[in-house]
Amino acid sequence: MAAILSIRDLRKIYDGGFEALKGVTLDIDEGEILALLGPNGAGKTTLISMICGITNPSSGQVTVGGHDISADFRAARKLIGLVPQEVNLEPFEKVRNTVAFSRGLFGKPRNDALIEDLLKKLSLWDKRDNQIRELSGGMKRRVLIAKALSHEPRVLFLDEPTAGVDVELRRDMWNVVDELRATGVTIILTTHYIEEAEAIADRVGVINHGQLLLVEDKATLMRRMGQKQLEIQLDTPLDTLPESLIREGLEMGAEGSSLIYTYDTKGERTGITALLTDMQAAGLKLRDVQTKQSSLEDIFVGLVKGDAA
């Protein structure tokens, strides 16, 4: 698939000399969902702001659908929808009007049916004639999404869409993303909720201190970095680990009632068969066995820590 968004060596140095983004290069395919993970201040919002035209890049090039964001900004920006992190809305405007305003701003002719459909999908139709100040926080976020989608963008940026949002709304938001995916919209979302990236992204990028540390297919990333743990509950607790069992990756669990064996899923041999054979030879009886996949969170924490070191 062709890249709809192409970022080349994008840098941002603020007036004070702070380098918020240190040369990011990234291609995003049409229709994919990319999650950008990173702690606060990592450069996620700076990256998005530059692509959308809110902040001027210091150097580098970005094209959206083949259109350069500065030389051909009209064509590029028409393809982009942005849901900002902050809930910035005109408090006295009515829901329907503010969404129609956004569509007009992007040069699209009035289309009441489309806006009705959008508001219904986002459960805002009942509130269409309410002033924005009368809405709850979650509703306001939906209005931001409706505004961003009002001009039918091909690329949607969601800057921490679920920060400070309750669980129910977060699920709703994920459903919206799912529906958009079905229509072929490319989505780039930033988040520091790893479960969010894990739940909805196709690819995951990790960004910290203005650098893109890696971008990987989510499944590959988890496979590549992922380790698994085998936890064996013992029938009788152990005082010490029998010498025949001592090996790399094996630890005793709490009070000796279990053994925890960490292994690499990608390794040529996992060592599980050998461990179980040796346990049998040592006369240990098993009560229960379970395995755990390391989560994206473990991977992320590992990467960010490694970067800081």
Binding site: I54, N56, R74, L105, G107
Partner: protein, 253 residues
């Protein structure tokens, strides 16, 4: 040109105007009536006429200018300051529009609102005094140019201001005194000679003089100077706005 966007901004701004109809429309009319009562009745009973024009009629152009300039600045500045203040400016910056279109939308709406108010005051004043307009077309030219140029100035102030206090400070401390001292309510020829000279450094004098000329055919300064003054002022504001948008000053980091 993204005319749809210009219209969207324009409509949005006009909506706010109608939402705050009482505040933005009725209040200038009421304050004008008060001026007539106070100036017309109190002072007008002592000053019968100025250069053959009754005092009540003489102050009409000045009154219109006073309101139009104040309203144009406040509309122009608030329109762009408010999105900056509440953060909705992100949408303008990320939309496929250029700065000329943004200015056209905001300043167009601000100037039209000011024009409305100017016309309202003119209509209100006919309830109090008889008015004849000697040069109607030139009157309209002066009125429209004043609305546009001071809306542009307001737009600049709105971008410059970092707080509501700053937003108010220039209109309050600079513009209002200049209007009051610019011959709104008197003819410059009534001043001592020294002050007549000093007054000529006040740009508003040229506006009010030209505008009054359009009404009564008499002026404190030649009408050509008035036209030149407002043209230079308009171009100056346009140049500053051009620079702001090129550099992204106080808009894009």
């Amino acid at each position: 040109m993204n005319w749809t966007a210009v219209y969207a901004i324009f409509r949005f701004e006009m909506n706010r105007f109608f939402r705050t109809f009482m505040q933005s429309f009725i209040s200038p009319v009421i304050s004008t009536s008060l001026y007539f009562v106070v100036f017309g009745a109190a002072i007008g009973s002592r000053i019968q006429e100025i250069e053959g024009v009754s005092y009540g009629a003489f102050i009409v152009p000045g009154l219109i200018m006073l309101s139009v300039i104040t309203q144009a600045i406040s509309n122009g500045s608030f329109g762009i300051y408010f999105p900056k203040f509440i953060g909705t400016i992100y949408e303008l910056l990320s939309a496929p529009i250029n700065f000329f279109e943004i200015v056209l939308g905001y300043v167009g709406a601000a100037a039209l609102k000011a024009l409305f108010i100017g016309v309202m005051i003119l209509v209100t004043s006919t309830l109090f005094v008889d008015i004849t307009i000697a040069h109607p077309v030139m009157m309209l030219v002066f009125l429209v140019l004043t609305c546009v140029s001071f809306s542009l100035l307001g737009f600049i102030l709105g971008i410059w201001a970092k707080s509501f206090e700053q937003l108010q400070i220039v209109p309050l401390l600079v513009v209002t005194p200049l209007i009051f001292l610019g011959g709104s309510f008197y003819s410059i020829s009534m001043l001592p000679p020294v002050w007549q000279t000093i007054t000529l450094f006040n740009p508003v004098v040229y506006l009010i003089s030209g505008f009054r000329w359009a009404f009564f055919g008499m002026a404190d300064v030649p009408v050509g100077w008035s036209l030149l003054a407002i043209a230079v002022f308009t171009l100056g504001c346009l140049a500053v706005i051009g620079w702001i948008f090129k550099s992204g000053w106080r808009l894009r980091s």
